[in-house]
């Protein structure tokens, strides 16, 4: 029997490899080919057709006309060396585009997902604690309502109201225009300011679901004997709420958190478009519209790797976090 951890780590690479292969094939299935749009643009600029082909040929850093397996091999070889190729439409190394965009997306998704969990858990726990109270009913109602509003609707409305109408927050972008792109206080402040609306709209709707889940979990935990015993032992309500109820109710949500994190990375496609937020999702759409294969592959890969790592970390750490689970069981936790 091979050690669980070795197997699990091997699986990470296998999964990434498979997804990379799969998306490679998928993307090549896209109709049109990578240069259709560019061709149209050039033609529109009045460049003669013959010249257009020549120009496109000049650009080719991938070989879209080579046999698929050849392209695949090239790609995989390059990938193994950490080279994701050149973006066709932006004429830049994909790696550098990703390096500049991924942090923003990760930042927004991470912060908003953490907020979703923290707020959701907090509200859900309070609701469970006062189960049946007016507070509980009110917030359950709010949760359900929030769940039925798609986040992009929130995003559009929030953008309109808080940025354009009230002018409280910037309307687009990741950092203020005049701010130097280097780690400094103005930079951080500006970045935070720009992320408020995306994070807000990506957070609000999702809170409801987590709150309901937490509420359910907590109610279940509250029914356990050990909570009753803890009360009898004279522990303070606060200690019971945190160390007993919250902890035991949150633990099962832990793997969910990391999974959700990955899942929500994909959702930024819409979010970033609305806020002109130049993250992964933004470039994915750019790439898609331009049939920019390397860039598409790159964004896909980053999201995939993030997801796979998320699950991996969840698997490896869950047994550390929840003493009841021993390693190897944990991949049954979701």
């Amino acid at each position: 029997m091979v050690n669980y951890y070795v197997r699990r780590t091997a699986r990470v690479f296998a999964t990434i490899f498979m997804v990379a292969s799969l998306t490679f094939v998928l993307i090549r299935l896209l109709p049109g080919g990578p240069y259709t749009l560019l061709r149209a643009q050039l033609l529109r600029q009045g460049v003669p057709a013959s010249e257009v082909d020549a120009r496109i040929a000049n650009l080719q850093n991938i070989r879209p006309d080579a046999p698929l397996w050849q392209q695949y091999l090239d790609y995989m070889m390059a990938l193994a060396q950490g080279n994701l190729g050149e973006s066709i439409s932006l004429n830049e190394p994909v790696v550098s585009i990703l390096a500049s965009s991924a942090p923003w997306t990760v930042f927004v998704v991470l912060v908003s997902t953490i907020l979703v969990f923290v707020i959701g858990i907090f509200l859900g726990a309070l609701q469970a604690y006062w189960e049946g109270s007016r507070f509980d009913k009110l917030f359950s109602g709010i949760s359900i309502t929030l769940m039925s509003v798609p986040f992009y609707v929130v995003a559009v409305l929030a953008l309109y109201i808080f940025a354009y109408q009230l002018g409280w927050l910037p309307t687009a972008g990741t950092v203020g225009n005049g701010v130097e792109r280097q780690l400094s206080i103005p930079f951080v402040l500006s970045a935070l300011e720009h992320s408020v609306l995306p994070i807000f709209s990506y957070t609000l709707g999702a809170i409801g679901g987590q709150a309901l889940a937490m509420r359910g979990n907590s109610i279940q935990v509250l029914g356990n004997d050990y909570v009753q015993v803890a009360r009898l032992r004279g522990l303070s309500d606060r200690r019971i709420a945190t160390r007993y109820v919250a902890r035991n109710a949150i633990l099962p949500m832990y793997t969910g958190f990391l999974l959700l994190l990955g899942f929500r990375l994909g959702g930024t496609v819409i979010l970033e478009q609305i806020f002109s937020y130049t993250g992964l999702g933004y470039y994915l759409i750019t790439a898609l519209n331009a049939n920019d294969y390397p860039l598409m592959m790159g964004t896909f890969l980053v999201i995939t790797v993030a997801l796979v790592l998320g699950v991996y970390i969840a698997d490896l750490t869950y047994s550390k976090i929840d003493p009841r689970i021993s390693a190897g069981d944990s991949d049954e936790a979701y």
Partner: protein, 366 residues
């Protein structure tokens, strides 16, 4: 075994073979490893370690022992639910697992073996599918054994059996869900389900432990009653010697005492209790509460430690030597075996051999 007028199974290879016969059966479980013990040998729990025993037609075998000593595992191995990691389990002479894997010459198909060996679980709550009504639960075994029986006859059979197990009026109970029955009633349904399979052997794994003390006798009576009607054998698992005694005595069977994967003493109920050969049997006797007033009152147990040793690293020699009040050096070194013919009262303890070196070695005390 009093009744040896075995029902001749038409396709049985060996009419004289015991109903179920275990030959040197071992069940070893591997434990999962952690991050840092990659290069170590995996931990192995020897839940059942080299047990041979026969169960005849209309037989009763009561297994007693502490929690974790392997009673359930042995029971499940006996009825072919647990694949042994060593040794053979035969049903009327047919190797069960050979039949299952379709290897070798098969006299009795596995499906027939399967339906002949049934089980009643400890927890009546979890042994019935909460989403099915009692009729539907009980219809399953009939469908399984007699696929051609029509709906109304099926109902008829179910109703009559329900009444037979004391659930009157049957119609009232048949349409209920399990949660609408009391624990005792649930257990009766579980028993009925097993009986409808028309089995040769039923494993009753702590089938009465979850019931109230006052209901246990009733349930045991019912099982014994039906044993007579249905011609079945029972493997009856309990940790309570008095229940085992009641059941084995009434069923005219044996009690087997298990300790850490081994059977340390086996014999007819009354004799085993009256004249326990193994110190561990004596411990179990001590643990059995008694209403006789002189015996009430908590006394010091006849053993040196309370906790059962870790089954992953069972003690060397006689496995009981770490707790045995009579243990001597010899017990640590060598392992007593069970002698005597199968079916007789047998004990795996040096103390039964008057001229064993045991008597010369020094007592253990730690």
């Amino acid at each position: 075994m009093s009744q040896s007028n075995t029902r001749a199974k038409p396709n049985s290879r060996d009419a004289d073979a015991p109903l179920v016969s275990l030959e040197n059966v071992e069940v070893h479980f591997e434990k999962d490893q952690g991050l840092f013990d990659f290069f170590e040998e995996p931990d192995v729990v020897k839940a059942v370690d080299g047990i041979s025993i026969d169960i005849e037609e209309n037989d009763v075998l009561a297994l007693v022992g502490e929690s974790g000593c392997g009673k359930s595992t042995l029971g499940k191995t006996t009825i072919g639910l647990q694949r042994p990691t060593g040794g053979t389990v035969r049903y009327r002479g047919q190797d069960i697992w050979a039949a299952k894997d379709q290897t070798g010459e098969i006299d009795i198909p596995f499906s027939e073996i399967r339906s002949s060996l049934q089980i009643i679980h400890q927890d009546p709550g979890s042994s019935l599918n909460p989403n099915q009504r009692i009729v539907d639960i009980l219809a399953q075994p009939i469908k399984q054994t007699h696929p051609d029986i029509g709906l109304s006859e099926r109902r008829e059979r179910i109703y009559s059996l329900l009444e037979r197990v004391g659930m009157n009026p049957a119609a009232d109970f048949a349409d209920r869900y399990p949660h609408q029955l009391s624990g005792g009633e649930q257990q009766r349904v579980a028993l009925s389900r097993a009986l409808l399979m028309n089995p040769d052997l039923i494993l009753a794994d702590e089938a009465i432990s979850a019931l109230d003390v006052s209901l246990r006798v009733e349930m045991m009576d019912l099982m014994l009653d039906l044993q007579a009607d249905f011609d079945t054998s029972f493997v009856f698992i309990s940790h309570d010697l008095s229940n085992a005694r009641y059941f084995a005595e009434h069923g005219d069977g044996r009690i087997g005492v298990m300790y850490l994967g081994e059977i340390v003493e086996v014999g007819p109920a009354e004799r085993l209790i009256e004249d326990p050969g193994h110190p561990y049997t004596n411990v179990l006797r001590w643990a059995t509460p008694d209403l006789a007033l002189h015996a009430t009152g908590a006394t010091e147990p006849p053993m040196r430690r309370i906790d059962i040793p870790d089954p992953v690293n069972p003690p060397s020699g006689c496995r009981f030597h770490t707790r045995c009040p009579e243990a001597r050096e010899a017990c640590r070194e060598s392992c007593p075996t069970m002698d005597g013919e199968r079916g007789a009262h047998r004990t795996a303890c040096f103390r039964t051999q008057p001229d064993h070196e045991y008597w010369d070695s020094a007592p253990l005390d730690d």
